[in-house]
Symmetry: C2
Subunit: 600 residues, 2 copies
C-alpha cells in the first residue's frame, strides 16, 4: 500500500523543540530563524529528512513555513491549510497566520527587536524569496545565512534515501539524453551562457533520461547538475545511488561527482552561469558571486522542452491512460455495485482503488495521495482522509475521488464525482454546470500564442452564469512518469506561458458547497495543432486531445442543462471510453461499463 492513513501529528512536542531551536539561535547569535517546507530542490514533495517544518510544528501540509523569534513563533499557511494547521499545531506555542494576506516580512518588522538578526538556511530559499524580504524589511534588521539550525537539534533526523538512480529507457523517453543535451546547449549558446545549474530533480531526470524513488510519488532521484554549453554535464549525487548500469547509460559526457562536492563544482566555473532564480537556492548564486563568477537570471532550459512531450511520450502516456482507465472502471463498477447504501469508508475506498491500479501489474506508485471525500468532506479541496477524518459513505452522498498513478510510460490524474444513491438536485445542477465547463475546454479551439490565463474563463462561464465559481485553477501541467504537477503550462489566471503542442494539462473545474458536497470532474488533455475548418481563417489554431478514459457519472447530470453539442460530446466521449476499455476489464466491470457509457 503506497498511501498511509495514520493521523501522525504530535503537537505536544512543539514547545520542547521550539525551546531547543531557541537555544540554538542563542548559540549562533541570531534573533530568529525561518523554517520552510521546501528542501533545496523547491519541489512539491520532500524526503523524511527534509520534513523540518513538520518535525518542529507538527503541521504536515504541502506548503507553508514557520518563523521563530526569541519569544514568538508563527506558522504561515494558505487558505487550504488554515483549519488543518490549527488542528495539528500547538497553538499555545505557535500562532497561525494566513498567507498571502499575512506577510512574513510584515510580521518580522513588527515582531523583531531593534537591530535584530534574522537567520535562514540559504539552501532552502530561492533568490526571489530572499530578495523580496530584503526589499521590504525594516532597515535596522539584518538577514543572515546560517547552517540549518533544525539539523543541529534534530537528533534522530532520518538519513536521505539512498535508492539507486536508474536509467529511463529510450522506448519511454523517445529522445536520447545526448539529443536533449544538444537541444539545451543550443539554448545556452544562443544566450552566450557557458553553464547552467539545474537544481530541480525532475529537470535532471528528464535531461538525462533517469528516474528514482527518493520522493515516492514523484519518480526522481535527488541530485544537482551543472550543464556546460560544450554538451557535458557534471551530475552531483550521493555515490550510493550510482551503479554501473547508470554509469553505462550516462556515458562519457556525464561526469558523476559526490553531491557533497557541489560547492567546489560551482566555485570552479568560469564564464557566464545561468541560474533560474524562481527555483534555485540562493546559496548557489552566493557561491558563484563569492568567486566573482558572472551570474545571469534565466529560465531552467529544460522546462519548455520537458513540457512539450514528444510522440513517444504522448504514445506512452496514452497507453498509461488506457491502463489506468481500465483500473478506474474496475473501481467505479465496484462502487456502483455497493448499491445505494454502501457499507464502506473513505479509507476502504482508497485502498480498493489502489488495489485496482496495482492489479494492472505496472503501477510504480500512486501519483499523489488519493483525495476521497464523501459528502461534506468532498468540499475540502485538498482533503486527505486519515484515521481521524475517515467517514462512512452514506446514501445521498456525493463522492469525490481524485487520484492518479505513476507508470513507466506515463503519469495519470483523474477526478470523478459519483452519486451514492439519490443526490440532491442542487448537487446535480452544480455537477452539470461543472461538466459544461469541462466540456467547453475539451472542445475549445484557440489561436496560437494564448496561455492558460487567456482561456480559464471558458471553464467557468457556465458556473458564473449561475452565480457560482471555484477557488482553484482549472488545470495544471502534468509530466510523463515525472511530476503530476509540472510547469510552466496550466489553465489558471497565473498561467502565463503560451500553450505549445505536446503540453499536457489537467482540465478540472469544480464546485464546493461548504459542509455539503464537493464536485470536480477532471480529465488530462494535451495540446495539439487544430484541424483546419472549412471556411475558417488561415490563422494557426490549437486544440486539446483527451487522454483520460473513464465514465462520467450519468446519474449526476441534469440533462435539461446540456446543449445538443454538449450531449454529443459526452456521448462521443463515452463511446470512446467503451470502445477502448471494454476488452480490458473484468466481466462484471464490462457489464457496468456498457450501462455507464450508454448515450444520454
Amino acid at each position: 500500500m503506497f498511501q498511509k492513513f495514520a493521523a501522525t501529528t504530535t503537537p505536544e512536542t512543539g514547545k520542547r523543540r521550539l525551546a531547543a531551536l531557541r537555544a540554538a539561535m542563542v548559540q549562533h547569535g541570531v534573533d530568529g530563524f525561518l523554517i520552510p517546507r521546501s528542501d533545496a530542490h523547491m519541489g512539491e514533495y520532500v524526503t523524511p529528512r527534509d520534513q523540518r517544518l513538520a518535525w518542529l510544528t507538527s503541521f504536515t501540509g504541502s506548503a507553508g513555513f514557520c518563523a521563530v523569534t526569541t519569544d514568538q513563533a508563527a506558522v504561515f499557511v494558505d487558505g487550504r491549510y488554515t483549519l488543518q494547521a490549527a488542528d495539528q499545531v500547538d497553538t499555545t506555542a505557535f500562532e497561525i497566520r494566513n498567507i498571502p494576506s499575512d506577510k512574513l516580512v510584515d510580521w518580522l518588522n513588527i515582531t523583531l527587536p531593534q537591530d535584530a538578526k534574522f537567520a535562514y538556511d540559504p539552501w532552502l530559499h530561492t533568490a526571489a524569496q530572499i530578495t523580496s524580504m530584503q526589499d521590504k524589511k525594516r532597515s535596522d534588521l539584518t538577514l543572515i545565512e546560517v547552517p540549518n539550525l533544525i539539523d543541529d537539534i534534530w537528533h534522530d533526523q532520518p538519513n536521505q534515501p539512498l535508492d539507486l538512480m536508474v536509467p529511463h529507457a529510450i522506448e519511454f523517453a523517445g529522445q536520447t539524453h545526448g539529443d536533449k543535451l544538444a537541444q539545451i546547449c543550443a539554448d545556452l549558446r544562443a544566450s552566450n551562457h557557458a553553464f547552467t545549474v539545474l537544481t530541480q530533480p525532475d529537470s535532471i531526470a528528464w535531461l538525462l533520461n533517469t528516474r528514482g524513488t527518493d520522493l515516492g510519488q514523484t519518480p526522481v532521484a535527488l541530485c544537482f547538475a551543472i550543464v556546460s554549453v560544450d554538451e557535458t554535464v557534471t551530475l552531483f549525487i550521493a555515490p550510493d545511488k550510482v551503479d554501473d548500469e547508470l554509469r553505462t547509460h550516462l556515458g562519457k559526457n556525464i561526469t558523476i561527482q559526490d553531491i557533497t562536492s557541489l560547492n567546489e563544482g560551482l566555485e570552479n566555473l568560469t564564464g557566464t552561469v545561468r541560474i533560474d532564480q524562481k527555483t534555485a537556492p540562493i546559496a548557489v548564486q552566493n557561491i558563484l558571486a563569492q568567486q566573482n563568477i558572472t551570474v545571469v537570471a534565466g529560465d531552467d532550459p529544460t522546462v519548455i522542452p520537458k513540457a512539450c512531450k514528444n510522440p513517444t511520450e504522448l504514445a506512452g502516456t496514452t497507453a498509461a491512460h488506457v491502463r489506468d482507465g481500465a483500473a478506474m472502471v474496475e473501481f467505479l463498477s465496484y462502487v456502483s455495485n455497493l448499491g445505494d447504501t454502501p457499507n464502506i469508508s473513505e479509507i476502504e475506498l482508497v485502498k480498493h482503488l489502489e488495489k485496482c491500479r496495482r492489479d494492472t501489474g505496472k503501477l510504480r506508485n500512486i501519483s499523489f495521495d488519493t483525495i476521497c471525500g464523501s459528502g461534506p468532506n468532498g468540499a475540502i479541496v485538498h482533503y486527505r482522509v486519515n484515521t481521524d477524518t475517515d467517514r462512512a459513505v452514506q446514501s445521498g452522498d456525493v463522492l469525490l475521488v481524485d487520484s492518479g498513478g505513476q507508470y513507466m510510460d506515463g503519469t495519470t490524474d483523474i477526478t470523478r464525482t459519483i452519486a451514492i444513491g439519490n443526490v440532491s438536485t442542487t448537487a446535480m445542477r452544480a455537477n452539470t454546470l461543472v461538466l459544461k465547463g469541462m466540456i467547453a475546454i475539451s472542445c475549445l479551439r484557440f489561436p496560437v500564442g494564448l496561455a492558460g490565463r487567456d482561456i480559464d474563463a471558458i471553464a467557468r462561464h457556465a458556473l458564473w452564469s449561475a452565480g457560482l465559481d471555484f477557488d482553484h485553477g482549472t488545470g495544471h501541467g502534468v509530466g510523463v512518469f515525472l511530476s503530476v504537477h509540472e510547469g510552466p503550462q496550466g489553465i489558471s489566471r497565473r498561467a502565463e506561458t503560451p500553450f505549445m503542442p505536446g503540453m499536457i494539462v489537467s482540465n478540472e473545474p469544480g464546485y464546493y458547497a461548504q459542509g455539503a458536497f464537493g464536485i470536480r470532474i477532471e480529465n488530462l488533455i494535451y495540446v495539439k495543432q487544430a484541424d483546419a475548418i472549412a471556411g475558417g481563417d488561415d490563422r494557426e489554431m490549437l486544440q486539446f486531445e483527451t487522454l483520460t478514459l473513464a465514465p462520467i457519472d450519468r446519474a449526476m447530470i441534469d440533462q435539461t442543462l446540456l446543449s445538443d453539442n454538449e450531449r454529443d460530446w459526452l456521448n462521443s466521449y463515452h463511446n470512446t471510453v467503451l470502445t477502448r476499455l471494454s476488452d480490458l476489464v473484468s466481466t462484471d466491470a464490462r457489464a457496468w461499463l456498457h450501462t455507464a457509457c450508454a448515450p444520454l
Copy 2:
C-alpha cells in the same frame, strides 16, 4: 461639419524637410533625431502645431514615429498603418518599418556610426520609452536631449489653439472638484507623497471639472497641473485660455500659472513627487532630479476615480446614449430607405450621420472620425474615408459604420454592420458569430477581481469554434464627455486592471475578410454589481449594463446559429431600443424602428 475628407498628403515635401532637419542636426552636433507622433501629453490626438511627424513625413496615422540619421530615415508604424504609410510617404526618402517586429533600438544599433549622438526632445517621450532605449542601445551610442529640431525648421508651424478652458457643470460631473481633490490627496497621503504632476489633459479636466476644445474630438484644454497633498493645485495653462468664469469656478485652492513657467513650478517643489512614468514626459522627472527632488514612480491618481463613473455621470451618459440612439435610428432608417441599390457614397453617408447627430441640437463634436467602410473597405479596421478612397455603396455590400458623439453629458461610440441588399451567407454567418460573442459579454457575470484579460476569450469563443478570430481588443474604456479611448479598463489580453463598478467599456468583437467585407458590432456597457441569483454562491460578482441603443441588423443574422438564450437577449434588447427611442424619432424612422426591432 466636424469630419474632413481631404486626402491631405504631400510626400513631395519630404526630401526638402529632411534636408533641413539634417542641417539642424549638424548645427546641434547630433547624428540623429527622433520624431514621435505624440505631444507632451501623450494622448491620442494632437494639435496642428504638434503634428511634427505628419509635417516631416506626410504620414497622418494616429501612431508611429520617425528616426532620422545623417543618411537614413525610417518611419515606424504598426500593422494598421503599413499600407497607409507606404501610400503617404516618399519612400525614396523614408523607409517604412513595422512595429513591434522592427524595433527602433535595433535600427539605431545597426544604422548609427561609432560613438554617434542620437537626440530626442525630452518633452515628447516618457521615461519608460527612453529607459528602454538606454537599456538596449550599443554602448558607444549616446542619447542626448535637445530642444525640438522640427520646431527650429518648421517656419509656418501653427500656434497652439487658445480657446478657453471652461467649467464643466456639477449637473454633469456629479462631484465637486473640491471633493475630487480630497479623494486624490487621500491617495497621495497614504503613499507619503507630497505632490504629483498631472500631464494628461483629461486627468486635469476630470479633476477640476473643466473642459476645452483644443483637441477637437476630445473636449479638453491643454495644460499641466501640480497637485499638492494639502489639497491645492497649480494649474499651468496659456493665460489666454483663462477667463473670470473659469477663475471663479476653480476657486482659491487652484492657482493659475502660465504654462511656460512649468519648469520653475517643478523646480520649487520639496518632498516626494509622484510621477506616472507611463504618461509623463521624461523632461518632468529630469527637471525634478536636477534639483535633487525625490521622484517616485506611481500611477496618475485620477485614473481609477475617473474610470469609475459616479451616478450622475452614469445618468448623463445614459441620456446621451438615448439621444445618440435616436440619431442612429434616423441614420439607419435613412440607409434602409435607400433600398437595395442605394446611389450614395461613403462620404455622403458620413455626412448624413453627422447631420443626424447635429440635429439633436446637443452635439459638441463627433468623438472620432467616423469609420464608414463598404464592401472591402470594411475589412480595413482603421479605415477613414477620404476623397481618394471614397466608394459608392453597392447592392450586396456589407456596410460597417463605427461612430460616436461628444455631448455635454456623455461620450458615445457605436458600430453597426448593415446589409445592403442581399449579402453572402458567409458574411451572415460571420456576423452571427460576432453577435454571439457580443451577446456573451453583454450577458456575462463574473467574480470581482477579474480584468478584461480574464474575460476576452468569452467574446471570441464562438468565432474560435468556427476557426475565426479578430486582431484587435474586444473593448476599450470610454470617458464621459472626455476621451473615447480612456484607460485603464478594457477587454483585451492587455487589460490588466480589475473591473470596478461604474467603468464604461466598449463591447465590439468583429471579423474581417480581407478584400471582401468587415463586421463589427459595438455597444458601450458599464460595470455594475451583479444581481444575486437564487442558489448562487455568496461571492461578489459583477455584470454589465448596456448603454448603447440602436437596432442590430436582423438581415445580417443567421438565426439557426443562435441559441434560445441569445435570441431572447436580442429580442429583449430590441424591445428596450424600441421602447426608449420610439417617441424620440421622426415618423418615418419610427415605422422603420418597429420593423427593425420586431422579435426574431
